[in-house]
């Protein structure tokens, strides 16, 4: 009978057995783990840096906020150019050769930054504000060429913008209704109104924060906070967390590929890393069937430490099969 199909009784035949109390072991270990986790929890607590709001961003860095919003309106922000699953852009769509699962999957979380992040919130905020309503009317009735002209000029002017009494001031120029619109959006954001307006989806309850997170990620303010907390991509990003806490250390292999050339500089780094990790995870699961890898434990004598009691006893001599040398009576 092969060892594969043996019962436990057959498998352990001849092996000395010792007393073993499984439930006692589990109970003791469970209590020990509770004590250990409690001591760690009391001594080190857990990380909880408060979430960043659009309100905080608009108050702390109004120029970055207005620059980001202007980029959204001119469809030049990372989110506007992203592509699937948010929109029809292509800047962040990755592929391996001719294969692009991202492009194939298409748009599943539709996001229209100009409308979702700027125009719709401004339209909602224009009630009771004749200046803003007039600015929006001017903007909406202008040609695409005219809008581009205003936005290009305003974007260039923002490079030398200053903050005066909480407002973003730029040099005089032909910006059309853009300064009024941006000033209003900044005002709404500074009161916290934009946090709610971006999260709303026409329902009372809301749990999807795709829009506000994408909007904030288009600016430089959030990225600066992440970098200060050693969380940037080239700082082993995702596996770290705020403070000196261990973070998701189990993601070290995933994060490592982002630090290693040529993956670190590849335009399709995310897809390459995901492919590598799916492959490695599959290989880990299939270790028992991979020649060479499955033989490593025999070659590395760690098992001799683990089973040192077993190896302390020399192997029993092999049974000698008597050989009948007498002539066959038949």
């Amino acid at each position: 009978m092969s060892e594969r199909s043996q019962t436990q009784e057959d498998y352990y035949q001849g092996v000395p057995m010792v007393r073993y109390d499984l439930l006692k072991e589990i109970s003791i270990v469970t209590v020990v783990m509770l004590v250990l986790a409690t001591v760690l929890a009391l001594a080190f607590s857990s990380p909880d840096v408060p979430s960043v709001t659009i309100k905080a961003w608009a108050q702390a860095d109004p120029v970055d906020f207005v620059t980001t919003a202007t980029n959204e309106l001119s469809d030049q922000s990372p989110s506007a150019l992203y592509g699937a699953p948010y929109n029809s852009g292509s800047a962040s769509v990755q592929s391996m050769g001719p294969v692009s699962p991202q492009g194939f999957a298409g748009v599943g979380v539709p996001v229209d930054p100009a409308n979702d992040f700027v125009l719709t919130p401004l339209t909602l905020a224009s009630s009771g504000s004749p200046d803003l309503a007039a600015a929006l009317k001017t903007y909406n009735s202008a040609s695409d060429a005219q809008r581009s002209q205003w936005l290009d000029a305003y974007t260039k002017a923002l490079a030398k913008a200053e903050v005066r009494q909480g407002r973003v001031a730029v040099a005089a120029g032909a910006y059309g209704p853009i300064p009024t619109m941006m000033s209003s959006l900044l005002g709404v954001a500074r009161t916290g109104g934009l946090d709610g307006l971006l999260a709303t989806s026409g329902h009372f309850y809301q749990t999807d924060f795709s829009r506000p997170l994408l909007f904030m990620s288009d600016g430089t303010y959030l990225a600066g906070l992440g970098k200060a907390q050693h969380l940037a991509g080239n700082q082993w990003g995702v596996m770290n967390e705020t403070g000196l806490y261990p973070g998701q250390t189990w993601l070290w292999l995933f994060t490592m590929w982002y630090q290693v050339p040529p993956v670190s500089t590849a335009p399709n780094a995310d897809l390459v890393v995901m492919a590598i990790m799916v492959l490695l995870t599959t290989l880990l699961i299939l270790v028992p069937f991979i020649p060479g890898v499955r033989s490593i434990p025999r070659l590395v004598p760690i098992h001799r430490l683990i089973w040192r009691r077993y190896y302390a006893v020399p192997a029993p001599p092999r049974p000698v099969v008597p050989v009948n040398l007498a002539p066959d009576p038949t």
Binding site: I26, Q102, G106, T242, Q248, L286
Partner: protein, 227 residues
Amino acid sequence: MTTPASPGPGDTVTSAPTEPTPVRRETGGWTGAAAGWLERRLPIGKLLPTRQPYYIGSWVYVFGVVTIAALIWVVLSGVILTFSGPQWWHVSSVGRFINSLHFWSVQLFFIFMVLHLWGQFFMASWRDGRARTWMVGGLIFAVSILTAFTGYLSQQNFDSQWIAISAKDAFNSTGIGSFFNPLNFGQMYGLHVMLAPLAVIALVVVHLVMVRIKGVVKPIGRPGESR
């Protein structure tokens, strides 16, 4: 429907000494087949063994049990956090402590799971018909990573925001961004408190049953031995 008349006053009730009625097991049908299978494959002596081979006297054998113990506290602290809602621990000192317990239990869970994994690798524990046990263990590791990831996204703090923004590109690049959207708190929270832990627990139960059915593997053979 009639019921047997109960004996009246003065009636003499006699009963012959009876043998205990033998329990007859019906082996037919799905239930009978399942009962028979369980009885053959996993009798109580295997599920809760009182004797084990003498060579299990090593700390490496404890790592698996320690991992399960940590998982128990991960689940229990997680249940308390779930009952109180995702914002509770940000505003309550008790909540912060429970969250810390959850956090450190998760860290311990992963530390000992990795030690268990390496220990089993160097013992080549997939030998003698135990490959499927190893495979389920590998799957538990992968699903646990996904479960912890959704947990980090459910914290509702700066870490959640940052991890969501950073990780979205990886999922989007594979084409699953529409179905697994790290920016969607509701989706991540639902996965974290229900489906993902259910998957981990179910796989751990399967893994344990497989270990108990087969028993621990014998040591790698000495030079000259066949194992």
